[in-house]
């Protein structure tokens, strides 16, 4: 069942014309910073990990309004409940699909962003590993926020307000990934978010 749900979610993401939006957004934000702080290569290389993490965090929030709200509105969620499928399962599948939908293209675009910001190969590789470890937590938080704001006015902005403070640990451990232990802490933060996320999102989706 989990597999079928996951395949459906993935197909929906893959077929939507918005699939490239988070990646393009990510590269654009990375390209925006040299214009904002000046083209000094040393400064850019120093702040590049931070820029890339903030861009990734914002990119994970970009599709938040289409993650669950359409399924709540057209009754798909009600149908799944009526068939006796656990909402936790639905949300877990959605987290996995959202992660594949935004994090994998984002990792593919990382070299482009890295070149734009003058990142050296070793730092870029470490950053890629950190993103691989940390983005599942961002996907989980985005799905929780999508569940909390489904059907509310201004859901997108609201989701941003909800997720940003909660994503702070991931950001801190992600950017500090050159320090010993940061990878483990980042992995731990991701595991906690993945463990709690499906249950929190399902509780929020449950009809009253």
């Amino acid at each position: 069942m989990l597999w079928a749900l996951f395949r459906r979610d993935l197909l929906l993401i893959a077929r939507s014309p918005a699939i490239w939006l988070p990646v393009m957004f990510f590269v654009l934000v990375a390209a925006l910073f040299p214009f904002a702080v000046g083209p000094d290569a040393r400064l850019l290389a120093r702040i590049a990990p931070g820029i890339i993490w903030v861009a990734a965090l914002l990119a994970s929030l970009l599709p938040v309004e289409t993650l669950l709200a359409p399924d709540v509105e057209d009754g798909s969620i009600d149908q799944l409940i009526a068939r006796g499928i656990a909402l936790e399962l639905v949300c877990a599948a959605r987290i996995a699909a959202h992660w594949l939908g935004f994090a994998v293209p984002l990792l593919a675009a990382l070299p482009v962003a890295g070149v734009l910001l003058g990142l050296d190969a070793a730092t870029g590789l470490r950053l890629g590993l950190a993103l691989l470890l940390g983005t599942p937590a961002l996907a989980s938080l985005a799905v929780v926020a999508a569940a909390l704001t489904a059907g509310l006015k201004g859901g997108g902005a609201l989701a941003g307000l909800i997720v940003l403070p909660l994503a702070l640990p991931v950001l801190i451990f992600g950017v500090g990934s050159d320090v010993a232990g940061a990878f483990r802490l980042l992995g731990a933060a991701s595991l906690v978010a993945l463990a709690v996320g499906p249950f929190a999102a399902a509780a929020a989706l449950k009809p009253e």
Partner: protein
């Protein structure tokens, strides 16, 4: 606990309790602030600016304690479906956010003469700022849900997710802080040894602020129950006319 979940019984108790709690809070706060601002000696190191502490410390305690009580009320609302717990959570949140903001502002005003700057990215300051953001997220979600009507389950879940995340945030901020700079400024050292002349007004104002917080929450809960009653009555009247 279920005994007190009845809004009518709650209102009967709250009507008596509100003025007592409010007056007690005002009296204790006035005593604490008067001793603190006029009758206590200045600190041998910080001078007169130490007096900000009598506002800052109680506000910090209520900002943090307010979030705990918000989480407890939200858990109660989710598990036992108490309608009063939902109202309590909605009453606590703006008060807690306000005290968190007072704590940040008073701390920053104290920081200017003492540290020479309004803001440092100290672990405690940063955690408090994140706490304010958590409050603001809760308030925005709760307001949006109230507009739609319903039980406010989303806001309650967010409060619980926030309380799970709070220790992780606190730990990560401390880790981040030690990573970037040695902690040149430690807030903890300033108050580790406190003279009894300074402790008395501090305890008085902490107690006073806490009672005031309780009074604000009670007043807000009563006002929300009254609004619900007005809504129900006007709906009944509209139905009778239709």
């Amino acid at each position: 606990m279920h005994r007190y979940a009845n809004p009518t019984r709650f209102l009967k108790i709250a009507r008596v309790a509100t003025p007592i709690v409010a007056l007690l809070g005002l009296a204790l706060t006035a005593a604490g602030l008067w001793i603190g601002l006029f009758a206590s000696p200045p600190d041998y190191q910080q001078g007169e600016s130490v007096r900000i502490m009598y506002v800052h410390v109680p506000a910090a305690w209520l900002g943090a304690g307010g979030y705990m009580s918000l989480a407890i009320a939200s858990a109660t609302a989710l598990i036992w479906r108490h309608p009063l717990a939902t109202i309590a959570a909605r009453a606590i949140a703006p008060a807690g956010a306000a005290f968190t903001a007072i704590c940040l502002v008073s701390g920053s005003l104290w920081g200017k003469p003492t540290w020479g700057t309004y803001w440092v990215w100290d672990a405690r300051l940063t955690s408090m700022l994140v706490l304010l953001f958590l409050y603001l997220g809760y308030l925005a979600l709760s307001a949006s849900e109230a507009e739609k009507g319903g039980e406010q389950r989303g806001a309650a879940i967010l409060a619980l997710v926030g309380v799970i995340n709070l220790p992780i945030i606190k730990y990560s901020v401390e880790w981040w802080n030690t990573l970037h700079q040695g902690s040149s400024i430690s807030v903890a050292n300033a108050s580790s040894k406190i003279a009894p002349e300074l402790l008395t007004p501090l305890l008085l104002s902490v107690a006073g602020f806490s009672f005031l917080f309780g009074a604000i929450v009670l007043m807000r809960m009563r006002a929300m129950l009254a609004w619900a009653r007005v809504d129900a009555r006007s709906r009944r009247m509209a139905e009778a006319l239709a």
